[in-house]
């Protein structure tokens, strides 16, 4: 009996060790897999979080979407396996490559990995002045009209100087282009914007007024919180603003507004067509990536919302923004203005 028991225990130990060995081998094999992931600057922390993954080695390149796009547009060989980015960048890269007689780079992205509504942040007490000037509803159209003016022109204090809007540079930064698109849709009152609309002189005057007032000093939500008078109005994502504002210990927190209709930054994983590691990449982003993104303030299905993310603000079915093609045209238009 004792012998039989000892035999069973020994056999169990051997089987167990084989299983453990197998898992170690599998993990080592996965670890030897190197994923090259390009990330937009807005996702720097998220992607650095993925780089620390225990299962696979992830080489992360963090750079503005425009920099990646400009490199890939003419590249013979892509130096990445996937790109974590918002529309329209992968589509715009492939369109440009096709025009140049080059092959497309990206496989279809599929559904967004994560989403975040675009928000407007306004410093207090300037928010009250702006609200009054905007007829009680602050939106990009009104901000654009106020941008070339001084606060004292619209009922604010002389000491506040000019109205100082800021958003990421739409020529290069993914969120910057989305914010500019949201502003354009707000000015025109619709999302079915055509390229002809972008040539409308009244629109161009308004857009120039807004963009030329945007501060050139590199800004961020952190800057708004730590150097309050540096910028007065900021356009960004809820993911960028919500958690930071919620945890901030500042005297007066900026007001977070969700301009109606709500528009969203939809985060896509654009895998390189034909890449052998697409499956691993999708699994990484779809697994650990989703957790990291949710923790960083992005809305991810099935994940808890981070502090500062407003569950009471529902997301639309689509992005609420003009088409990808229009966004690419808008980028070109903004390059001329700025």
């Amino acid at each position: 009996m004792r012998r039989a028991l000892a035999f069973v225990v020994a056999a169990g130990m051997i089987a167990g060790s084989l299983v453990v060995r197998d898992r170690i081998d599998e993990r080592n094999a996965r670890k030897r897999t190197v994923l090259r992931l390009a990330c937009v600057t807005e996702l720097e922390d998220v992607c650095n979080g993925l780089a620390g993954s225990r299962d696979v080695r992830v080489d992360v390149v963090v750079e503005p979407a425009g920099t990646t796009a400009d490199r890939l547009r003419t590249a013979k060989v892509a130096d990445l396996d996937g790109w974590l980015v918002t529309p329209p960048w992968p589509e715009a890269v492939d369109a440009a490559r096709q025009r140049a007689g080059l092959t497309k780079l990206f496989a279809p992205s599929g559904a967004p990995v994560a989403r975040s509504p675009l928000v407007l942040l306004v410093q207090r007490p300037r928010e009250q002045v702006l609200r009054a000037a905007c007829g009680n509803a602050i939106g990009w159209k009104c901000v654009g009209e106020a941008a070339p003016k001084r606060w004292s022109d619209i009922g604010g204090m002389q000491a506040w100087g000019p109205v100082k809007p800021w958003h990421p540079d739409p020529r290069d930064e993914a969120v910057g282009l989305l914010v500019a698109a949201q502003a354009t849709a707000a000015y025109l009152g619709r999302t079915d914007v055509s390229t002809d609309d972008l040539d409308d002189p009244a629109y161009l005057d308004w857009l120039s007024g807004l963009e030329l007032a945007v501060r050139r000093t590199r800004g961020s939500v952190t800057d708004m919180l730590t150097a309050p008078a540096q910028v007065d109005v900021v356009g960004t994502t809820e993911a960028d603003a919500g958690p930071q504002i919620a945890s901030a210990e500042v005297t007066e927190k900026p007001v977070v507004l969700y301009p109606r209709p709500v528009a969203t930054a939809d985060l896509l994983l654009a895998p390189l067509a034909g890449s052998r590691v697409t499956g691993v990449l999708r699994s990484l982003v779809g697994g650990e990536g989703r957790r990291v993104l949710a923790k960083a303030g992005w809305r991810v299905e099935g994940q808890d919302l981070a502090r500062g993310v407003q569950a009471s603000v529902p997301l639309p079915a689509g992005s609420g923004l003009p088409s990808s093609g229009l966004l690419a045209a808008l980028r070109a238009s903004l390059a001329e203005i700025r």
């Binding site: 204090m157 000491a159 506040w160 100087g161 000019p162 100082k164 030329l212 007032a213 501060r215 050139r216 000093t217 590199r218 961020s220 952190t222 800057d223 919180l225 730590t226 150097a227 008078a229 540096q230 930071q244 945890s247 901030a248 210990e249 500042v250 005297t251």
Partner: protein, 608 residues
């Protein structure tokens, strides 16, 4: 027995591992002034040095934080790393990086991280490299703390301008600076003319920011300053007007604050300087009785009799944003970058940001609330500034520096060089003498003067000639350097070491000569270089010299002549030289290492 063998092996292994870990911990952790001190100490084998060049006002704070980091687990993630902090003025750091950071022996190790006071320096660096078709070294980076530029004024003077109820700006300063009645126009003739303390924008961030702010004030803009704006005649006139009220320049604001503090102790702070462009943090330090922001061991701060108040210019101001720039330089490895990022994250942790606040900076992490010492009790206001100016585009920044060199207040300088016998002693490793090195440095420094400056060359040693004055000789009389640069250069090359050191006699005589020919439109100064002590039996009384210098330099209607002293070599009487400089509200420079004379000369000439 068989059961115990594994246990023994285990014990041995545990002991081995423990020993290794202890060794590693000892190697990386450190426990005192050694390599973990954050200074430029040796780096233990296996550890990665992360050298960091930081602007002077935060060197104590960063050294403190580096010490904590080096002792923490964060420094051991992914391998051992040791952060070492060295002090480099922002403008000097920019210039060194633009030149590829040559001569690590003289300039310190090439940095992995550069933290100038403002990200504007990174933009200037990149622009200078782009102009030479070189890639950017300073990638976009984030602020880890801030402090706004303010105009610091003695409280009674600010009140005379209407502070705190009336907003004050650069236009008010220009108006007062150009008023022939000076402070008399504000009911205080006893304060004399309006005097502005402003450093050299090629070195100092507060000066760079103040110069940018002046241009904005001149154009009545707050953003979008363009090259065309800078070329406007009225803008040029505005800039020259503000510069005309400058006392003298210099590489660091702490010189002004130290001089002001000493004047304050003598009850004379209101006649030295009326306003100084400094960072808010410096106002806090000054009002705490610590004008240079560094408390030596045992030093007990004493609050000034007349405190400063921070005026936040009504036209708007700029923040010194203290970027943490991990350089994209060929000498920076991936591992060093990783370690640098770990240190950056460490610095931004809330507990360390509270240390930042304690030092008078505004935290860069919004999770730490701005509070004391940034409060009215220290002469500053956490709710200010209400308006912030945009940092101009890089080409505009570079142009501002070029223009400043033309628009700055002109100088009238007597160079006084010791040619005593000891200057013939060897210095450096190449068989050169102290005089050889000094000649080279002085020649090079001549190029830092603008053509319109007036410069003369005097040499001194006992018995330099048989007739009186027998202790000094004017080789080139003071004249426009655009015309006499070659003459001075040739005279410098001909210098030979001779006899003794009549230090007090030449100091007094040079000072008196400049006072007699004082030009109120210029900075009037003596630059006195010596390697020794006074060796003149005919004039051995330093106290008499100091009293005369001090008495003739104070009061509302003085003709201030500054004596900037350079103590050269290990035998120079640094104590006396410092007292001579302080008696004229100037600064003393230490070149006790003769090979540093180039940098020291550059720093001295930055006063003009």
């Amino acid at each position: 027995m068989t059961r115990r063998r594994p246990a023994t092996r285990l014990t041995v292994r545990v002991a081995l591992v423990a020993t290794l870990l202890a060794g590693l911990a000892a190697a990386c952790g450190g426990n005192g002034k050694g390599r973990a001190s954050g200074g430029l100490d040796d780096v233990p084998k296996g550890c990665e040095a992360v050298d960091m060049a930081v602007s002077p006002e935060k060197v104590t704070l960063l050294t403190d934080l580096a010490r904590s980091f080096n002792d923490s687990d964060a420094a051991k993630k992914g391998g051992c790393s040791v952060v070492r902090v060295q002090k480099v003025s922002s403008g000097v750091g920019m210039q060194l990086l633009a030149n590829g950071w040559p001569d690590a022996q003289a300039n310190g190790p090439r940095p992995v991280v550069w933290s100038p006071a403002s990200s504007a320096w990174g933009a200037i660096l990149n622009q200078k490299r782009r102009d030479k078709n070189q890639s950017d070294l300073a990638p976009p980076s984030k602020a880890f703390m801030r402090t706004p530029l303010v105009i610091a004024m003695p409280r009674p003077m600010a009140q005379a301008l209407g502070w705190p109820d009336t907003p004050i700006g650069y236009a008010d300063i220009l108006s007062l600076a150009q008023n022939p009645n000076g402070w008399g126009a504000k009911g205080h003739p006893e304060w004399g003319p309006f005097k502005l303390g402003k450093t050299n924008p090629n070195f100092s961030t507060s000066a760079l920011s103040a110069t940018i702010a002046q241009y904005y004030a001149a154009t009545q803009k707050t953003s979008g300053l363009s090259l065309e704006d800078l070329g406007q005649p009225q803008v040029d006139a505005f800039a020259r007007g503000v510069e005309s009220s400058v006392v003298h320049y210099g590489d660091i604001t702490l010189t002004f604050l130290n001089n002001l503090y000493r004047s304050d102790r003598r009850g004379a702070s209101l006649t030295y300087v009326s306003a100084v462009a400094v960072e808010e943090k410096s106002v806090i330090d000054y009002n705490s009785g610590n004008p240079d922001g560094i408390l030596d061991p045992g030093e007990v701060p004493r609050k000034p009799r007349v405190p400063l108040v921070a005026v936040y210019p009504k036209e708007g101001t700029l923040f010194s944003d203290n970027p943490f720039i991990v350089l994209d330089a060929p000498w920076v490895s991936a591992r060093q970058k990783q370690a640098a990022r770990a240190f950056e994250a460490f610095v931004k942790q809330p507990e360390n940001q509270r240390r930042v606040l304690k030092f008078g900076f505004r935290p860069g992490n919004p999770q730490v609330r701005v509070g004391a010492p940034i409060d009215r009790a220290n002469g500053v206001d956490a709710n200010q500034p209400q308006n912030v100016l945009d940092v101009p585009e890089p080409p505009v920044l570079v142009r501002i520096l070029d223009l400043w060199a033309q628009q700055r207040k002109a100088a009238r300088v007597q160079l006084v060089i010791d040619v005593s016998g000891s200057m013939g002693e060897p210095a450096g490793g190449g068989g050169e003498t102290k005089l050889d090195l000094a000649k080279r440095a002085a020649t090079s420094a001549l190029n830092d003067f603008k053509d319109d400056d007036q410069v003369g060359l005097r040499v001194f040693t006992t018995g330099i000639r048989t007739t009186e004055p027998s202790d000094y000789l004017d080789l080139v009389p003071i004249g426009r350097i655009g015309d006499n640069r070659g003459q001075i250069d040739a005279a410098i090359q001909s210098l030979e070491p001779q006899h003794g050191t009549p230090l007090y006699t030449v100091a007094q005589a040079s000072y008196d000569a400049l006072r007699q020919s004082f030009d109120p439109t210029r900075i009037n100064a003596v630059v006195l270089l010596t390697d020794g002590k006074n060796e003149d039996d005919r004039n051995p009384d330093v106290n008499n010299l100091l009293t005369r210098l001090r008495n003739s330099n104070e009061g509302e209607s003085t003709r201030p002549v500054r004596i900037f002293t350079i103590g050269y070599g290990k035998d120079a009487d640094l104590g006396v030289l410092r007292r001579i400089a302080e008696a004229t509200n100037a600064a003393a420079y230490d070149a006790s290492d003769p090979t540093s004379i180039n940098q020291v000369f550059t720093a001295v000439i930055s006063n003009f």
